[in-house]
Symmetry: C2
Subunit: 144 residues, 2 copies
Amino acid sequence: MGPLDSYLPYLLNRAGARIATAFNDEVRPLGATLQIWRVLAALREQDGRRMGDLSDTTSIEVSTLTRLVDGMEKKGLVARRRDADDARAIVLHVAPAGRRLTQRILPIAERYEAVALAGFNAGEAEILKAALRRLYANMDGLES
Amino acid sequence: MGPLDSYLPYLLNRAGARIATAFNDEVRPLGATLQIWRVLAALREQDGRRMGDLSDTTSIEVSTLTRLVDGMEKKGLVARRRDADDARAIVLHVAPAGRRLTQRILPIAERYEAVALAGFNAGEAEILKAALRRLYANMDGLES
DNA sequence: CTCTTTTATTTGTAAATGCAAATAATAGTA
DNA sequence: TACTATTATTTGCATTTACAAATAAAAGAG
């Protein structure tokens, strides 16, 4: 392996970590965290998701998610309901306070997208995103 | 903000998290962790780095790094020395066991690079890496 | 229909994390 | 030189995290 800054996982982590900590600092005054935002954003895309589904889409480990959701529930951001079709499962729904918080964080999220992609034109940005999707899918190749 | 999987910070985190957990699982049998590897890789690139420098290059928060290095020192992977030029600073050096561990992890790291970039040709890979470096640099634009 | 296996979530518990304060040394100023 | 400000690292402490085990329900086998 050559220099660190030609090593892809390094570059990926470095960029991700920098965005994550800056974003986290910025939503803290709103009483949120990056993890809370991840859950809210996933529910915004589709409400009533199962815990396991949320764990997959947010990349938050499922036992960690349980306790994160405990806190969000106490804050009135979300509500747990038992899934009608499968009593093992819990489905999570946004609550009014969660919707309000989402609306407050959205412009910040949009600003981060814009700042991160400054100097990229639309085509370049799409190529980058496609590459990141491919990269994620490529990791299937390890389950051997 | 549209669908999650067109949101760059999301794609970045998702890909990074997947690589990170898989890698972590893989080095665990060797008595290592991803964080330990990050420090070893940084020292492999340049030995005798300061704690603050290591914190920057590994994206590990400096107080977390202190305790991580405590553990690595106990395992004989690295050694702390006081910087001769500036007695406030600590410089970290790899120790023999650290070099051996690095050698064992290197092929795994190389495999991860290869798997992640499967299907990318050399030019595409370099474009992706350049984009990730730019993205990282773009975050300077928030310090306003 | 009972028994076993699989799936979904939570809980126990130890370790990792990160903010803020403490410590220690250098650099700058009068 | 003494005094203040800055920089580097560590420590205190509360929160977050994650592995493994426990719980609970559905699905499959006989």
